[in-house]
């Protein structure tokens, strides 16, 4: 199991290389990428702010939970922060498991939990020079 919150560019191939096993028949890779448009406004880039130390620990917890549900420890999750350009990968989630149901469910669980609980924030920069922190989600306390 591997989790990381990093300022470095995410290489999908490297994340994929961290999982997989001869026992596994299914591999899922999910990538979140920066879109050129949001709610109809032209986006020039995105700044991700993170409470890095806490995010590392929350992310490790999410991966452990997903692993327990999927019955697999072949899970790698990397979340980026800092300045991202259009098309840049903000998050990569890779899971492998004997059968596909578990991999799909684990990848989905991880991205949903990231959105609910990871102490990370996005500021969109718009083509018109404006910038805005995106409305977020109040994390369930006790999680």
């Amino acid at each position: 199991m591997f989790t990381q919150v990093t300022r470095d560019v995410i290489e999908p191939q490297a994340v994929l290389g961290m999982i997989g096993s001869a026992a596994d028949g299914a591999v899922i890779l999910f990538l979140g990428t920066v879109r050129e448009q949001n709610d109809g406004r032209a986006v020039s880039g995105m700044r991700y702010d993170a409470f890095v130390e806490m995010a590392e620990s929350v992310l490790a917890g999410i991966a452990r939970e997903a692993g327990a549900r999927a019955g697999s420890d072949r899970i790698a999750v990397v979340h980026r922060f800092g300045e991202l350009a259009i098309g840049d990968v903000s998050v990569a989630i890779a899971v492998s498991s004997p059968h596909r149901e578990e991999s799909f469910a684990a990848a989905r669980y991880i991205i949903e939990q990231i959105k609910q609980r990871l102490p990370v924030w996005k500021q969109e920069h718009y083509m018109d020079g404006d910038a805005e922190w995106l409305a977020g989600t109040v994390p369930p306390i006790g999680a």
Binding site: D49, F51, M54, W121, W133, T137, P139
Partner: protein, 81 residues
């Protein structure tokens, strides 16, 4: 006692503060520390009265009691992914 305050994203922009060491009453709650902060430092007036907080890097209820040296983070609603 002394605690360390951390602010992120919108809350850092609203206050102009990212990190701050503050003196609070011994054994007070996170909520009490925030009330005192809002009364004595006008920069914190624009932070919601009941923000999400983390104490020592874990989400916590506002009525959690603090200890000397604790790290109290004020967290806007999160938006990862």
């Amino acid at each position: 006692m002394r605690i360390r305050l951390l602010l992120f994203a919108l809350y850092r922009d609203l206050t102009g503060v990212g990190e701050l060491d503050i003196e609070v009453r011994d054994g007070c709650s996170a909520a009490a520390a925030l009330r005192s902060l809002r009364q004595h430092d006008s920069r914190f007036a624009r932070i919601p009265e009941r923000p999400v907080v983390a104490v020592n890097r874990e989400y916590a209820e506002l009525d959690v009691l603090l200890s000397d040296g604790d790290e109290l983070a004020l967290l806007p609603p999160v938006a990862g992914g």
